[in-house]
Amino acid sequence: MKVHIPSALRSYTGQQNEVELTGATLAEALAALDRRFPGIRFRIITEQDTIRPHIRIFVNDAQLHDLTAPLQKTDTVYIVCALSGG
């Protein structure tokens, strides 16, 4: 699947705005993302496995709230920085 990386996290991905990953669930995809770019997951997911307050994750058009959500190979995942104010 494709994963879109927001600008705030591209210091981890060598400025790539999109990476290709595998994973049967959102949790597996994020684990794969962190293996490839160490440290990136903790900036968006807390140590209690919850999505951080100003991060949103969409798969295709649907927002996901649960890391156990299943993913398909053809899905596109969007990590979005939202609503943090000035």
Binding site: I44, T46, R52, H54, C81
Partner: protein, 387 residues
């Protein structure tokens, strides 16, 4: 603790100010005379930087506590006095709990303290919400320190996010006795002051004598809100504290704080965030009062900024406002944003909520603005950088 006078040699040479702001970090470097200052380019622009601290054991390693409006907390490390930085591979984080239990997540890292001089590469960190962490590898990896992060009694004293300061309750003022690495203090907003004499195996509360907000019970530790606690390097048996409810001094082995802020001018009061101790004279300390009346404006009283100094351990205070604006200066100084160097005479430095840095080469007698138009300043640490 044994009391023995500690003789520290005054420092000489250039001073560097490590400045944490709401939008990044800066280093401001002086010449040898501390007369001219040069502001660096921003580091990690856009990051919320609560604290930047130099390791006094090598004078080259720095840690920076950072987060952004969107992203979770992290720590950056430099081993070349701030020229280059790397991210910690395991920043402070609470243990993962089962979903049936409500585990906590670190919102931001607030306070950094190098461990004892005999513990190279070891650091403590305090977080929001309140957590105490330790690294033994120069800040690369961190683990919960002591038992307090998960202790039911401490969790009760820590309260909830609603009980804490507006941007989250904090663990701060982590202090290591320079004579004994096992003798530790820390403070929590809210949650009181705590001491360990066995390297963190056990802690006891140190809140006797401290006032709390009117109408609340001072024997309830939760209600105590120490803003900043400092130990005197020249007499490690003496602590000063700026609290939400006054200015205090504690002389060990006593465990009862004395409200020395009652000797402040009544129209100024004794509310504020920072307190700075003289590096060589334990009777001397500085505060920077703010307006703590009615809705707590948290600005300089009457818009007239001033430091206050005591040179007799709090028996009396002297106003120090020469150089500051005479009126209409509606800013204040946060708890980590006022510090001293170790020169003779001591240099004092403060960063304002309006983004200015003020310096005094005369122990507060006169003040000069050395940088302006910065973001809101959260912390200022005065250091002597190694070469």
């Amino acid at each position: 603790m044994k009391s023995s006078p500690v003789i520290l040699k005054p420092a000489t040479g250039p001073v560097a100010l490590l400045v944490g702001t709401r939008k990044g970090a800066f280093i401001v470097r002086s010449d040898r005379a501390r007369r001219t200052w040069k502001l660096s380019a921003p580091m990690f622009l856009g990051n919320i930087v609560h604290h930047v601290v130099l390791d006094p054991r090598d004078r080259r390693t720095m840690l920076m506590a950072a987060s952004t409006g969107h992203l979770g907390p992290t720590l950056f490390r430099s081993t070349d006095a701030g020229k280059t930085w790397k991210e910690s591979s395991a920043p402070p984080a609470f243990p993962k709990l089962p979903e049936s239990e409500k585990g906590r997540a670190v919102g931001h890292i607030f306070w950094l303290t190098p461990c004892h001089a005999n513990e190279p590469n070891a650091w403590y960190a305090g977080t929001s919400p309140q957590g105490l962490f330790r690294s033994d590898d120069g800040g690369n990896t961190w683990r919960s320190f002591s038992y307090i992060n998960d202790d039911p009694q401490y969790r009760e004293w820590m309260g909830t996010v609603q009980d804490g300061t507006p941007d989250g309750p904090k663990l701060h003022s982590i202090i290591v006795d320079p004579r004994d690495p096992k003798h530790l203090y820390f403070a929590m907003s809210g949650g009181g002051v705590h001491e360990s004499v066995d390297g963190g195996k056990t802690f006891t509360t140190l809140v006797n004598g401290l006032d709390v907000v009117e109408g609340f019970d001072p024997t309830t530790v939760t209600f105590h809100d120490p803003h900043c606690v400092r130990l005197c390097p020249s007499n490690p048996d003496r602590l000063y504290q700026q609290n939400h409810c006054g200015i205090y001094r504690l002389d060990r082995p006593s465990s009862t704080w004395v409200r020395i802020g009652k000797n402040m001018p009544k129209k100024i009061g004794d509310i504020g965030f920072p307190i700075v101790v003289h590096p060589h004279h334990a009777d001397t300390a500085w505060v920077f009062p703010m307006d703590g009346t009615s809705v707590w404006p948290r600005v300089s009283p009457e818009g007239k900024p001033a430091a206050y100094v005591t040179r007799n351990a709090g028996k009396s205070w002297v106003r120090q406002d020469k150089g500051f604006p005479r009126s209409n200066a509606w800013w204040t100084v946060k708890r980590q944003a006022m510090s001293s160097d170790a020169h003779n005479p001591v240099g004092l430095y403060l960063g304002t909520t309006s983004g200015e840095i003020w310096a005094s080469r005369t122990e507060g007698a006169t003040w000069t603005c050395i940088a302006r138009h910065l973001p809101e300043i959260y912390s200022v640490e005065a250091v002597a950088l190694g070469r």
